[in-house]
Symmetry: C2
Subunit: 350 residues, 2 copies
Amino acid sequence: MTEKTTTTKRRTKSPTMNDVATVAGVSVATVSAVVNNVPIVRPKLKDKIEAVIEEIGYKRNTIARSLKTGKTRTIGLNVADIVNPFFTELVSSIQDYLQEQGYAVILSCATRDNTTEEAQIKLLLDRMVDGIIIAPASDDERLKNMIKSIDIPVVLVDRICEGVSTDSVVVDNTRSVSDLITYLIHLGHKRIGFISGSGDTSTARDRLAGYKEALAREDLPFDQGLVRSGRFREGDGYNAAVELLSLPNRPTALFASNNLMVIGAMKAIRDFGLSCPEDISVACFDDFRWADVFEPRLTTIAQPVQAIGEQASRLMLERLSGQVVTDMPRRITLASELIVRNSCRPAAIK
Amino acid sequence: MTEKTTTTKRRTKSPTMNDVATVAGVSVATVSAVVNNVPIVRPKLKDKIEAVIEEIGYKRNTIARSLKTGKTRTIGLNVADIVNPFFTELVSSIQDYLQEQGYAVILSCATRDNTTEEAQIKLLLDRMVDGIIIAPASDDERLKNMIKSIDIPVVLVDRICEGVSTDSVVVDNTRSVSDLITYLIHLGHKRIGFISGSGDTSTARDRLAGYKEALAREDLPFDQGLVRSGRFREGDGYNAAVELLSLPNRPTALFASNNLMVIGAMKAIRDFGLSCPEDISVACFDDFRWADVFEPRLTTIAQPVQAIGEQASRLMLERLSGQVVTDMPRRITLASELIVRNSCRPAAIK
DNA sequence: CTGAAAGCGCTTACAG
DNA sequence: CTGAAAGCGCTTACAG
């Protein structure tokens, strides 16, 4: 096998710790202590060694270190769909926090349909990451079993899996949806179409629960016919909205369970020749940058994305450092914020 | 140092290749051949070894492998701002392609202001990645020198750095902006405000060149007073638009050089009590999902993000595999698409 | 086709 | 405070 050099530039073998030791006239153990900031080397010697390191351009080989220590200082991050702005910000925030603590983030998304979340997580495990943060796409049994079998720290974000006991960070989905629906009811809406995510996610279930809770509190009947669900994608939102708008007694307001489904819903509204908020009110879960700029400016529930990422990173870091060793899963629940803009109007009196 | 176990679950030492060899009654070399699919082991023995692997749950240790081979099968990806939807899609596409080829992607973004791109790239290098894909934020000399000194394959995407010779993938910025500005001119606009990115990026320069080119071709004078620049951020777009709208002879159309600056521009327009497209036309570089849903539906230049990611991945993979060893940098230039929606109207006749 | 052995570049007890 | 040496778990010539 004639191995060609993979780079165009000449790659001279980089100096090792041994080279440093030889040049400095000490043993590798001493060099290692200096490199790792173990304060047992007398200052003068340390200076000398550091000078040699600088001189010959020594860089510690992380791979060799990992092999020896069994730690890669790398965290795997698996989210269903990084293109969804909520997940994008989550990824950004997590990578930010972890990097600050000296951890790298390996990304893994099941974008293609021919791969599963389990396969994605397996890939991460293959890479010998020290821990995994997962925003699970579903409650799938196989996925749950896989997560249970992972022998490194796991933190679940955004959604939780029934029966899987790991640390997790979520928002108070039920309460925030309940607040938003209550707001709509107070505007006079009695028939509110609910575009739900798929029932195999905790977020979809909790958001639907919020809808029911608000109706109950306001003494409005729950009508299953006003609920349509899909898999949190734009197309699902479109289909759901089409069905709701086709109802003989059309709802006067629509709630979409995430930022993608609301796009579909808006398109459906346009295709029906209706406009928002004149003909129908619309609100959704998840805020996004554009919501405040274009018309209608959507009323949304904004999740504290930065804080979610921060908390998830913290939980992970605490496990990794051994500060927290309890078997008890820890759950952080954060509050979301209702942001009222101009996409909802008082219901027309009939 | 009493090292506590970092996991709550009991982590039994996982089996090694040696264990497999012992149980199967062969040498590690044979096991290695089986694991690496080197077809020199006789089928029956291979089956037996595979059975043992399955039985004792052996998983190859990637770290040890990397130490030996000098390859991590990991690519570093550095983008200025992952939250910008253009970069998000780029990251998603690259990670998709590379993962399919067995490469993992380590993400690195200079989100925090107290870190530099060089520092971010250094972090990647520390991780012993096999190659780096960079969307450089600027033409900064230090960054350029650093990139030049990297001794593994580098591919630049989106922007290029003057004087740095690496493979790169860009779009035809000049031409696409020229087309868009021509479109505006044909709508009757003679005073088109140009919100530019910062001059130390090739994209900003090329886009501005497109503006000038269109004006020249249509025999319109170039007026420096109609150009304002910023650093591609929302706030910069806002400030630029405020200045342009404050002009005694206000432009009748505004072009923003990216998807973030256009948000700022729209906010400025609103703050001036104007509306788009009634009072002023607006267009921008970069398409985004929401552009087609809310009003005004923006006229944009859509980059072929998937293709950019695909090409960048391909260039990288070709270097990595040794298929391409030339010192000549290869440059791929892709075409963008003008998407006309309803945010631009014929200029009012004066 | 298979095995024994060296070695990738570190870290870390263990002596001194 | 410093050094000699073992070993992390692989891959890969080299023999046979």
